[in-house]
Every structure is written in structure tokens, then in C-alpha cells.
Amino acid sequence: MCKTDAPQVDEGTRVLKEVTFKILRYNPETDKAPSVKSYTVPVIKGMTVLDGLHWIKENVDSTLAWRSSCRMGVCGSCAMFINGLPRLACNNQIVHLDSDVINIKPLPNYDIIRDLVPDLEGFFQKHRSVKPYLIRKDVEELESPTGEYFQSPEELTNYIQFAYCIKCGLCLAACPTVATDDKYLGPQALAQAWRYIADTRDDGSKEREEEIFSGHGAWRCHFAGACSEVCPKGVDPAFAIQLLKQDIFMKKLRLRKEKSVAQLAPKIEKWERNPNIPNAPEPTVK
């Protein structure tokens, strides 16, 4: 067990308890295989697992490696396997895990670069393969926009939840199909494919079909739902994949037509200023 005689917390800060962080360590330059190392960490109110890792690095073992950035659950960098589930380290307070032992491993279903750092290259490559951007036939308008495409609030709600994906990779870590089939596109890429197919501004469902509905695409999803369970942003990728399947199934049976693509919103030719709205103040710097 690794401890230090240095001051562990700021003077006056109340330590709630001490927990043991058991972390799977691996340095490919020096280690033949991963091994578990234990650290005793004092827990204060509001301390997240990420705070615990920072404490270890600052007070005990500076060689510990992991990815993190925003520390507020919006960047997706600190995804790791914590007490049996893929989670964001910054999004989980230690006391809420309700255990005196915090087992931390790198995300499953990924190769390890070092310690808690997974290799995300395959993950991003799968994402790129579904063409996660608006595809339209009016290329000139895309490159030199003259206006905006009209989209109603109802059309927006059809896909907006799937746009909340922060590419943290937790869903692929939880997916049992990814665990056995490394060519399977995975819930993140498939959910993003649906995000764009469902977007009325997009006209690229045909371009994406070959990749999405290949032998290792959407049809390999068994609807375990583990991806949705671990998603920290409520994207519900399992739902997106079922909508994807339903869409192509209905189109194959000719029970659903291709959606009509959003057109440029008409320009407002005649308008009058509302007299009740005051003018903006004049700039103070000319």
C-alpha cells in the first residue's frame, strides 16, 4: 500500500474516511503484464474519483497516467472502468460509489496504451466511417452559404438527444457485441449515423448505408442496452440503433418513403421593427 507523510489535505478540511484505490497499472516499456497497485486516499466532501486520481499523482505516485480535461462531464476524456462499470471519473463522487475499495481499470474492449489510457484510434475510425457530417446535393450552398436551412422544433427533437454524444467511448466498453466482434461498428458510430440520417437537413442516408448495414453494422446489435445504461449524457444509443433498423426495414417493405430534405428558409423581404423593443446601447468604443 502506498502512503506518504506529506500533508494529505488542506488544514481545516474534514476527511470523511479513507478509501483504497486499486488501480490496474501497465507501462508497456517496463511491464510484461498489467498489475494492480493499491493507494490509500483520504476522501473529503464532494471528491470525485478523478479528484482521487489527482491526489494520488500529486501526493503518492506521479507516474500514474490517465486522460482528463474538463472535470465536469462534458469532454469525455476520463472514461474508465470503475467498480465494475464503465464510467466518467469526474462524474462519480467517491462516497456515492458506496464502497471503501475503488477498483479502477482502463476501459474494456480497447487496447491499453498505458495505465488507464485506452487506445481510441479504432473508436474514432469507426466514427469517421459512418460519415458523421451533413451530406447534401447542393454543395455550392454548403461551401458558400446564402441562408439557413429551415428546420422546425419538432424536426429538431427527432434527433437532438443523439447529438449530445461526447465521444467518451463508454458505450463501446459496455457493449457485449464489441467484446466479441472487433469489426462491429459499435453503438457510438451507429447512433451518430442515425443522428445525421434523422436530421432533415441531411440527404446522405444512401451514402452511409453500405457501412451501417454491412455484415458488422446495425444488424449485429442484439439490443443488450448496456450502451444506454452507461451513457453519461442520456444519448440512448440502443434506441438510436433500433430506430435505424426500423427505418431501413420499413423502407425495404416500401412502408416508409425517404424523408424530404430541408430547403433554404425563405428570406424575409418585408419586416418592421417592433417599437416596444428598445435600441441596443451605442458602443462606447468607436
Binding site: 466479441t180 466482434d181 472487433d182 462491429y184 448505408e209 448495414f213 455484415g215 444488424w219 449485429r220 426495414f249
Partner: protein
């Protein structure tokens, strides 16, 4: 898009199995109810009952359709399980051809048996 077509047929075959296998199970195991309704045989699994049914066009067609649906549904499902074991591309092609040809051979043989009984004296 071919994979989507295969999947749609997989679903359709599943529905067909649900209906025809349901009828098959009903005939095989709920014969008392069918006899009471005047449309069944006692002891439906006896050789004479099986033969009598097989000589009727309705059952011959039903058996052939059920055979095709069950073979397709089962073999496509098994093929998907094998695909999820991360086979190399060549392996996937071999599995596809093996299952397609094997399934076709079994379907042809089963259809021959059904027609042979139907047309027998």
C-alpha cells in the same frame, strides 16, 4: 444493402415459423380439441396419421414452406453468430457459401421427400 435484405427475410421467416409451427404444434399436441371439433385425427403422430396428412396438398405445401422458413431463419442466425467471432474476410465468404449451399441441399431434399409422399400410391 444486401445485409438488410437478408435481415428482412429473416424477420419474415420468423413470422412464418411462428404461424406454421403454431399450427403444427396444435395439430400434434392438441388433437383432442381438434377431434372434438371434427377436424382432427386421434393419435396424430402415428404412421398412418402422418401419411394421411402428407397426402393432402395443404399439408405438403405447409411443410415445404415451414422447411424453407426454418432452414433460412436458423442458418442465417447461425451464420451471424459465427460472423461475430471476428472471422477473417475469407472465412466469412466460406461460411456464406457453405451455409447457402448446405441450406439449399437440405431444402431440396426435404421438398423431394414431401412431394414423394404426396405423389406416392
Amino acid at each position: 444493402m444486401k445485409e438488410s435484405t437478408l435481415w428482412v427475410w429473416h424477420i419474415i421467416a420468423g413470422v412464418v415459423i411462428f404461424v406454421l409451427l403454431g399450427i403444427h404444434m396444435f395439430i400434434m399436441h392438441l388433437d383432442d380439441i381438434l377431434v372434438a371439433l371434427g377436424i382432427g385425427y386421434h393419435d396424430p403422430i402415428s404412421a398412418s396419421s402422418v401419411f394421411a396428412r402428407s397426402k393432402q396438398a395443404f399439408y405438403m405445401v405447409t411443410y415445404i414452406v415451414l422447411l424453407g422458413a426454418a432452414l433460412y431463419h436458423g442458418l442465417y442466425g447461425l451464420r451471424n453468430i459465427l460472423f461475430e467471432l471476428s472471422l477473417p474476410k475469407a472465412g466469412e465468404k466460406i461460411v456464406n457459401w457453405l451455409f447457402a449451399l448446405g441450406g439449399l441441399a437440405l431444402f431440396v431434399y426435404g421438398t423431394y421427400v414431401a412431394i414423394a409422399i404426396f405423389t406416392s400410391v
